[in-house]
Symmetry: C2
């Protein structure tokens, strides 16, 4: 396999002999297909070897899967530093996480955690990610340096979050974020009112107004995630969380709502009508014992649903492979048969439907002429994946991050032959290790009861 | 890292500087621990570097996890050749699998499928597996050649299975199997009446009698797996499947019962009292939309429960990592909290408790002096696994087969530095590919409606 430099390479790249999954509407499987890339865009993708005589960097992928990079529409990237911390402890949010966030969240912590996350994302073939956290401009810079595509959402909340002491300060951070990435080709600034229970109705109204003035800036929110949230809404507003957000006039076209576990039929209709999109966090929700989102009903109502990981404190990984099992199993368990949510639907959600959740389906999520060249290669030459009767089943039920060998975003190789080109593994590990050591000392302090 | 030959190596092996998870009753985590191995046995395992001056093959594992090889107590190894075939098709058993088994199952098919499976098992750190299939002597030979430890169960069934035309022939195959592996150090012959609905009460009675005469041969059965099985038992016997097996006097001490989804409280008590052990196939059961086994209640009643994969036609992989998520998530969903089934319990089930299911807990399943040296190493130096606050959480929620770097069974290295030493990857792939091509042609014939 060729190993061109990691930077912007030859003007044209031709990928040949692919088991091509372009993720266009009919989700075809094309044997011995090709993709031709020029600069940051796809020129052609389909059957056959592509142009016969061409001045291009040509890669024969020997029958490996070539498909669009995957889209992870909900994460908290810097929280990768909390991966596995307080696992199985029911009150870990209040015992460990919130106090530690208040103590440790800083621009540097955010950069280190995001770099750790970016390595994992690239390694797993995720090329677009939506994030919600603090010091979000730093998240954007690290994603940019890693070459990834991201929607970076500055959190706005009224629970005294680590990076803003007032809602005004939260908006000021958002304005800085928008300024930093205006017209950036890969980084899309976003505003993220945390959740109905942590963002007052007046604040959500202000966000809705601000969003009207900034139509290119997507809004992200956590919605209908927890039993305690349902109880809060009933207690405080005499209704359910969807109604609270609706009263705040924030159920707007393009709203990216994460979780959406607790929805009734009328609420699903209301979200569909409003143009809300959903980031489904099957593994994170199940690991917390919270429940299973009504994915089939939401999709049947026309709501685009993407497959998301949530932060690695909750879901432990940022790869979509670890989500495919739960998304599929939950649908089949609820349906009482092996038929619901076929593998091809899972891959559709992981690519083009996830892109639609982020409002980016005209630019990414499928391999089509004119779209951004966000492309991954998945090797099939391991006994663990063989035989391959249906590549969608192979991807959903047998493949793993390690099977992704090459990753391209906007025409630039971020990984070749399993070698991440845009991040230094040793530095990523060293920086994360330093912060983890501080976290461990703080946990010991908390558990020791000293303060 | 040292790369000694794959055969029986130096008489003594010393593993040092391990994050040691010996899986002894209190499930400790020992930093900078050691394991000393002599021939096929563990001499010592615990804190510190082990003997200072010793003539041994010494490996410094640099803080990687060292733990017992994992135990997969229920699989159909040759069915790896069916992996992903007819995925999501509700009637695939009758449409594809049974006709194709009748047509293609042969000693060669069984050997090729088992070799494919063995590569995957070793790669994933599974050192002991219980199998149920046809031509089981062949399964035993391939497991033996691969260096693995196995319980190989000859299926006995009355649905005209591929390798025996009568129950007498089934018993004759079992006698040959027992003869072939009598006193084998790693391969344990087993008898496997298929299920109550496919093995008449008279046959199960005969198996129970035969088992009394062969106390060293474990019995395996599928039990209480499907709604259709419950309906069959009610229709045919006016009771539930557990009662059918009880009437056949086959609820014997040491019976390995796979699935056990549909159990009530009284049945759980009856199984516990009888000394039955359970192989839990969370992913396979969920993928088929069948339901979730009452794992917490079974374990609370004292029934050992192991984590199993089922055949790769149903569960798609043979690695336990892919099972950890479902086993954990289902328990947390049923419990409505993140507390039930902590990560440490999952690893207990994957090691010592799985060994107990197979009646092998005095020989394998933990790292203790005198036990067989079945040991795996798991590398932690990838950003995808970092930070590590709790190695059990890392194993359960972030690790993957590719993170296993070294595998030893009975003191012999089967894999070093991710290189499987006892099987030829290219031959495994080539042989499997040939059979898969025949399978694909047969599927096309079936789907084309020609016959």
């Amino acid at each position: 396999m060729l190993h061109p430099a990691g930077g912007r390479g030859a003007m044209k790249t031709l990928i040949r002999n692919a088991l091509l999954l372009p993720c266009t509407p009919d989700m075809p499987v094309i044997e011995a297909g090709h993709v031709l890339i020029e600069d940051d865009r796809i020129v052609s993708a389909g059957a056959g070897p592509g142009p016969g005589s061409i001045d291009a960097d040509i890669t024969d992928v020997e029958g490996d899967i070539v498909m669009p990079g995957m889209v992870n529409p909900h994460a908290h990237l810097p929280m990768t530093l909390f991966r596995g911390l307080g696992e199985d402890v029911d009150d870990r949010l209040f015992r460990y996480v919130l106090p530690m966030e208040r103590k440790f969240v800083s621009p540097r912590m955010v950069r280190v955690g995001t770099a750790l996350a970016c390595w994992e994302l690239i390694r797993a073939g995720v090329t677009t990610v939506a994030d919600m956290y603090y010091h979000e401009t730093e998240v954007g810079h690290v994603l940019d340096e890693a070459g990834l595509r991201g929607v970076v959402g500055q959190t706005i909340a009224d629970f005294d979050p680590p990076d803003h002491a007032s809602i005004d300060e939260g908006f000021a951070l958002t304005e800085l974020l928008v300024g930093a990435f205006a017209d950036h080709p890969r980084i899309t600034p976003s505003i993220a009112p945390h959740a109905p229970y942590s963002t007052d109705i007046a604040v959500m109204k202000r966000v809705a107004q601000w969003a009207t003035d900034h139509p290119a800036v997507p809004v992200q929110i956590h919605l209908a995630e927890m039993g305690s949230e349902m109880a809060w809404a009933e207690r405080t507003h005499g209704c359910r969380p969807v109604e609270v957000v609706d009263r705040a006039e924030l159920l707007i076209d393009g709203l990216i709502a994460a979780h959406c576990l607790h929805l009734d039929e009328a609420e699903i209709g209301r979200l569909a009508e409003a143009g809300v999109r959903v980031a489904h966090n099957a593994r994170s929700n199940a690991k917390a014992g919270r429940g299973i989102a009504p994915v089939a009903a939401m999709r049947a109502a026309g709501i685009p649903v993407g497959i998301a990981t949530d932060g690695p404190m909750s879901g432990n990984t940022l790869d979509l492979f670890a989500q495919f099992g739960p998304v599929s199993m939950f649908a089949k368990l609820l349906g009482g048969s092996r038929k619901p949510m076929p593998a091809v639907d899972i891959i559709r959600m992981a690519t083009i439907e996830g892109a639609r959740v982020l409002g980016m389906d005209l630019r990414v999520g499928s391999l089509e002429p004119g779209k951004q060249a966000d492309i991954i290669r998945i090797a099939l030459d391991t006994p663990r994946l063989q035989p391959v009767y249906d590549p969608y089943a192979t991807l959903v039920f047998a493949a793993q991050p390690e099977d992704v060998t090459d990753v391209m975003v906007a025409g630039r190789w971020l990984m070749r032959d399993r070698d991440v080109l845009t991040l230094e593994r040793r530095k990523v590990l060293r920086d994360a290790g330093q912060i983890a050591t501080e976290f461990k000392a703080e946990m010991a302090r908390i558990d020791g009861g000293t303060s």
